[in-house]
């Protein structure tokens, strides 16, 4: 029996190889369309605008007539780094956002996922309750919380404060960033929780059983057995945390419009690109935001894959 399979295998392989090498015309056309059309769309709608934005960040342009584009070299970047104090405020807010998400919101999401995975009582309820904000778009979340925390809103009404004496949740620099971060975490925790839960389900239960037989505590089990086993999910979670914190825009825009109440890089891009006073400073902000996001992600991924290759 083994000899027949040994003979069949090379024959089957040859057949497969043959099949792979000769595609009928129809196959090639189908493949061409299925790969070609999405690739074309991707290049036209994602890559071309991205490259164009990088080029435009080195020009002066109001965005109206292509003939008006003037080369500006690094002028926009100099303007941003040396002449625009609000840029540094926005950068500070984004970094605080990143640290908060990385140190508080994401770990809380992971913790929740781990607890729910252990099927504690009511885990189905917790799952639904924590995931609910994720179903809402950030804009809707902004509207809901704006309604709650405005000077003439629900919370100030509960506190019995008149409009003129209302707590300035969004205007006062002492509170506003923490209020916004709590609102963003409300959604982010559920999002991370769900990603991690899906990953945890895939972890082999025997690993955990083996660890508990060996006498490991919960924390040791998590740190030494489960966490390393979740390496692919960890990558996704970390990348998402970085992107979500640097990309924040919807909620801030809903609450503050494009004014500078709580400056963040996303709103600075919008303020300088959209609107009547469009200038390529917005493109420069976009490039800065892009570099801020992509550099840590690429560094992290390179490090991870280097380890994998080892």
């Amino acid at each position: 029996m083994s000899s027949t399979t040994a003979v069949e295998k090379p024959q089957a392989k040859a057949k497969k190889a043959n099949r792979r090498r000769t595609f009928s015309k129809r196959d090639r056309f189908t493949l061409g369309v299925f790969i070609g059309v999405p690739t074309f769309l991707h290049v036209a709608l994602v890559w071309f605008p991205a490259v164009a934005t990088i080029y435009l960040s080195f020009t002066y342009w109001t965005g109206i007539h292509i003939g008006d584009i003037q080369w500006a070299g690094l002028a926009n970047y100099e303007n941003i780094f040396f002449n625009t104090p609000i840029f540094w405020d926005a950068l500070r807010v984004n970094v605080i956002w990143l640290v908060w998400f990385g140190a508080i919101a994401t770990p809380l999401g992971i913790l929740l996922a781990y607890q729910i995975d252990r099927e504690i009582r009511g885990s189905k309820f917790y799952q639904a309750a924590y995931y609910l904000p994720v179903v809402l778009s950030l804009a809707v979340i902004g509207i809901i919380w704006n309604f709650l925390l405005r000077p003439d809103g629900f919370v100030n009404g509960l506190l019995g404060l008149e409009i003129s004496e209302a707590v300035s949740f969004f205007g006062d620099d002492r509170y506003n960033i923490w209020v916004i971060l709590t609102m963003a975490s409300w959604r982010h925790i559920g999002y991370i929780m769900l990603l991690y839960l899906a990953g945890l389900k895939a972890v082999d239960a025997t690993l955990r059983e083996a660890a508990s037989i060996d006498g490991a505590t919960e924390w040791q089990t998590f740190r030494k057995v489960v966490f390393p086993a979740m390496a692919p999910v960890n990558i996704i979670v970390i990348v998402i945390t970085i992107i979500e914190s640097l990309r924040a825009f919807d909620m801030i825009y809903i609450i503050y419009g494009s004014s500078g109440g709580l400056p963040i890089l996303g709103v600075l891009v919008f303020q300088n690109i959209a609107g009547e006073g469009a200038s390529m400073k917005g493109a420069a902000y976009a490039v800065i935001l892009f570099l801020l996001s992509i550099v840590p992600i690429i560094t992290y991924l390179r490090q991870q894959f280097k380890e994998d290759m080892k």
Binding site: T62, N83, P85, R150, I163, Q271, G275
Partner: protein, 431 residues
């Protein structure tokens, strides 16, 4: 093969001929519809979704359709969204006619070739407007691109009943010392003496404009906004020194309220004065007739006797025609109607108060609040359009707005804010 399925014997050639004829017919009809552009349907972009202005816009549309039989489609957009997207809107598929503002904000788009020249409309109905309005509607090439519809002054608003209760007579407030004394008195009564808002970034520009014009004069104000004077000048520091004196008398959550939040303070009788444009009279009227009748306005007090009260912010709102619209000819005809006395009368028929830019409006029919607005305007020799309409848009919105907001957060940082404003002006892209 189709014939075999349906069981009918349809001549293929006949089918093809019929389809061609039908297609040609449809194409021909569309082309003909496009040809008769002057009498085709017109689209009208309305820059608001608030109740009263929407009713007024609808009234113009209905009256125009009733008069000419041409169908007009109004498209209502929230004003911030409309303003933010105007550049893309005008380059893409704009409405034929749209509501906009006078001043540099209009000239900028005219210079880019996005507005239709409406000088021919001015030739027909230009006598219905005063000369200063014609100047405000003219682009940098001497042609007109805009038709004014309405104006409102910026001044100190208050409720007559509240002032009577406190025993104050704001009409007697003439100079800064009177004003400070009045604010002190109001504070002692437990009210917010001066309601203020700046969440949107633009509301505080009204206060800056009037302080600058009062302290330093109209010419300095215009020169500062055009970049001929420096923000780091001591004169501007003087403006902020006076502004700082007002801060203790304002509500503390200025950065948390937009103009309608501060208006609520006045509406709910929590505030004494409200320095704003008079457009919110419509909101008071929506609340009740008594609230509207209670509303009054006086000019901002004099600070520098050299300047008196000679300048006022009185922005001009109106209507323009987009060059890339589907029907510019129809658009021109529509704006002529809308800005003329017929359009004004259609709006007045809604019962909503309107201070129109049209000379022919029967001002004897004005209610007392409107007459007072006119009196406040008449006292001023010079009219400015408002900071964000009088200067470069890439300076007003992204630079000055946040600068004022950060000043409210830390009023002692005046010097550094002014230095940053000047360096950001210097670093602006060349036009």
């Amino acid at each position: 093969m189709l014939n075999k399925i349906t069981g009918h014997e349809v001549d293929r050639r006949l089918l093809l001929k019929g389809a061609a004829a039908g297609g040609l017919g449809i194409a021909g009809a569309t082309m003909l519809a496009g040809c008769s552009s002057d009498s085709g349907p017109v689209s009208f972009g309305v820059r608001t979704v608030d109740e009263s202005p929407v009713k007024q816009a609808q009234a113009i549309v209905d009256a125009y359709t009733a008069k000419t039989g041409i169908e007009v489609t109004p498209n209502f957009t929230e004003s911030n969204a409309f303003q933010n997207n105007l550049s893309q809107y005008l380059q893409g598929t704009p409405d034929d006619a749209f509501q906009w503002m006078a001043g540099y904000r209009m000239q900028f788009f005219a210079d880019q070739g996005l507005l239709e020249d409406v000088s021919s409309v001015w030739d027909e109905i230009g006598d219905q407007f005063s000369d200063s309005y014609k100047i405000a509607s003219t682009g940098s090439d001497g042609k007109q691109y805009f038709l004014p519809q309405s104006w409102y002054p910026w001044g100190l608003h208050f409720r007559k009943s509240m002032m009577a209760e406190v025993g104050m007579s704001p009409d007697d407030i003439y100079n800064w010392d009177d004003f400070m004394a009045a604010l002190k008195e109001l504070k002692a009564q437990g009210l917010v003496p001066l309601a203020a808002a700046d969440k949107g970034g633009w509301e505080a520009m009204g206060t800056f404009d009037i302080l600058n014009a009062r302290i330093n004069g109209y010419n300095f104000h215009v020169d500062l906004l055009a970049g001929r004077e420096k923000w780091t000048d001591d004169k501007v520091k003087e403006v902020f020194r006076h502004w700082e004196m007002l801060l203790p008398y304002q509500n503390t959550n200025v950065l948390d309220l937009e103009w309608d939040g501060a208006m609520q303070l006045l509406l709910q009788k929590q505030a004494g004065f409200f320095m704003n444009g008079s457009w919110f009279g419509g909101n008071f009227l929506e609340q009740s007739q008594e609230d509207y009748d209670d509303l009054w306005i006086v000019p901002f007090p004099e600070i520098n006797p050299d300047n008196g009260r000679d300048t006022i912010d009185a922005p001009l709102d109106g209507i323009a025609v987009a060059k890339n619209g589907g029907n510019p000819g129809g658009g021109k005809d529509f704006v002529q109607f809308a800005a003329s006395i017929e359009g004004v009368e259609a709006q007045l028929a809604t019962g909503i108060p309107l201070t129109s830019a049209n000379n022919l409006q029967d001002t004897s029919a004005y209610d007392p609040f409107q007459k007072q607005q006119q009196a406040v305007m008449a006292e001023a020799k010079y009219i400015t359009q408002f900071l964000d309409r009088d200067t470069r848009p890439d300076f007003a919105g992204p630079v000055v707005g946040p600068a004022f907001q950060s000043w409210f957060k830390d009023p002692s940082s005046t010097d550094s804010i002014l230095e940053s404003l000047q360096s950001q002006w210097d670093a602006l892209a060349p036009l």
